[in-house]
Amino acid sequence: MQESAQIVLKSIALFFLVWAAIRLMGKRNMSQISPFNFVSYIVIAIVAALMSINLINLIYGFIALLVWVAFPIALDYISIKSKVMHELINGKEAVLIKHGKIMEENLMSVRMTGEDLLAQLRSKNAFNMADVEFAVMETNGTINPYLKSDKKPVTPHDLGIKVAPQAEPQTVVLDGNMLEEPLASLGLNPQWLATELDKMGVSLENVFLGQVDSSGDLYLDLFDDAVELPQPKVKEMLYATLEKSQADLATFALQTEDTEAKAMFSKNSRRLEDLLNKLRPYLLH
């Protein structure tokens, strides 16, 4: 009985100790750790397990834990400070495909078969070897392909389209609750939200999610999906209004006989046209 109580106490103490140690060792994703770190995690786990069921001496166990926690931290620190040590500890990334050709020797040195390489490339959406210009195996084992320039996804830059820069949207309502902090970071207050919700005719409790986009428009998702909400179309409307005014001015320029007025109308019509061209990426997207 006494022994089991001892095991319970030890396990609880070790649980928190190991938790603290792992947190101390860094905040990396489990799938991204190097094989070496993986080994230290396993050793820590095994030593802790053996200690908690009294299979090894508590003091010896602590010494072992200390070494296996301190060394990875020390190595991490050294590898941050020194490039040479970084390569020595974590290894170097291996180029597997260069200029569209597979480097068989490098593939051999990382002990991968052609099938492995193809499977990894497929997981990165590169099904066709001919599309891959360059591929590298990172030190943590993931393979990153770089596609040939004519096989890469098209960006607005490729198409020569100007797009408006956008800041990240801020979530201001979640689960029917107003989130004060993001709202304040936008420079808005609860009254603003109340007014906006009023305009759309919904109450705060019915809103599952509310986001303010970079231009300050509010997007809502309600608990009740049967309710159709008007989505913000203010920018499209603004564009349409300006476009109509531009057409009006052009008409006036044609209709009027007064030469001075004609010049004025056509000048302003041109001005508005330029303005529309400039605003298009910001208003229509």
């Binding site: 603004l238 209004t241 000048k267």
Partner: protein
């Protein structure tokens, strides 16, 4: 519809557009977009001024349509 009232209508919708532009030029968070909206606001102001001037001359010339 007379010319004066047509111009007035366009002027009104331009003023509405100016209001919306002003809202966006304050509530947009991205600096580049905001300055674009501010530029547009100034441009719209100039056009509105020109139209208002024209409207005054029209009303002077055709006083019978004043107030339509």
């Amino acid at each position: 519809m007379t010319v004066a009232s047509q111009v007035k209508q366009t002027l009104a919708s331009l003023k509405g557009a100016r209001g919306t532009l002003r809202v966006y030029s304050t509530q947009t968070r991205d600096d580049e977009t905001r300055s674009e909206f501010i530029d547009a606001l100034e441009e719209t102001n100039l056009i509105i001024e020109d139209l208002e001037k024209r409207l005054q001359t029209l009303e002077l010339k055709e006083p019978q349509y004043k107030g339509n």
